[in-house]
Symmetry: C2
Subunit: 153 residues, 2 copies
DNA sequence: TGTAATCCCGACCAAATTAGTCGTATACTA
DNA sequence: TAGTATACGACTAATTTGGTCGGGATTACA
């Protein structure tokens, strides 16, 4: 539960891989898939989605493939997950959903919605760059994310 | 994706409900289920798990049922989710798992593990009490949760 | 003692979601 | 034009989740 889908996982990995190989003009889906031993066709579909979402550029034909369309540090994990799995909410309801309609009955929805935002915030604060140089460079010194925390009260 | 299961959701609701009715010595699974219109048998199983995990006391027989075994503010959303759905990790791997064994191949696992901890931390900081009085009383003033944030770097 | 209410628990089935495959069309390069 | 690649939708398979059933054990009380 509360798991990232493998697709999102693959997507992040692929993006990270591309970020680590800026020299190549383009890497094919197969290249990346082979590098990690994941199904090439599945990864292809994922990369297509990321392309449509604007974070990759694609090139068909021989020597074609994918390359980052933006700077690695401007792509957040959140965007990636969003593009691959669609909008995410930890509750089944949340705004705009056809989920469980306990509506007024349910008073835990609001606090949970805040948890949701917190998680989204965390995910937004992580860039592909952060993943690539995984020797974790302190990007948020001090307590500038204080707002993320206020959800408990 | 990244969704709370309905079981966990139900569990939180039930706990909140019990927290709101401290006068009753015990409420049956059916009582709670009816209050929210959720399947009684399913809720029963959930409550059993919470009982085994020590956050509820149960009483069989006529006029039996469940009651909180601890103060509502000492029960965190995290415990509840853990008891109902088992250990949660956003990645398929994470320590102790039989998940995807890209092992050394995968360098995104470590940053994601930190995201995981952050989420866990947030969940831990929310008590049943917080859910019950959902007019959100600031429980964490200032920036005492700074550590939750350092995952980005 | 007997009965009704209730918890307990494992096995089971059904629905939903996720993972992965296939087939075909299209684009690009040499 | 041959070969390599993306694009995309439909399909199937695997896994997870949601929910049900049935039998058994406890307890209260008449
Ligand atoms: S129970 Fe409440 S929080 Fe959960 S899905 Fe339904 S309305 Fe949302
Ligand atoms: S790809 Fe990496 S992060 Fe994802 S499950 Fe496998 S080892 Fe873990």
């Amino acid at each position: 539960m509360l798991k990232l889908t493998k697709k999102a996982d693959y997507g992040l990995m692929a993006l990270k891989y591309l970020a680590e190989h800026p020299e190549s003009p383009a890497l094919s889906a197969k290249d990346v898939a082979d590098a990690y031993g994941i199904p090439a066709q599945l990864l292809a579909k994922i990369l297509q989605r990321l392309t449509k979402a604007g974070m990759l550029r694609s090139q068909a034909g021989i020597n074609g493939g994918y390359a980052l369309a933006k700077d690695a540090r401007t792509i957040s994990a959140y965007e990636v997950i969003l593009a691959i799995d669609g909008p995410f909410f930890i509750t089944s309801c949340s705004k705009g959903a056809k989920g469980c309609e306990l509506g007024p009955n349910c008073t835990i929805r609001e606090p949970l919605a805040r948890v949701n935002e917190t998680i989204a915030g965390v995910l937004k604060s992580i860039s592909i760059q952060d993943l690539a140089e995984h020797e974790s460079a302190p990007a948020s010194p001090g307590c500038d994310s204080k707002d993320l925390i206020t959800l408990t009260g």
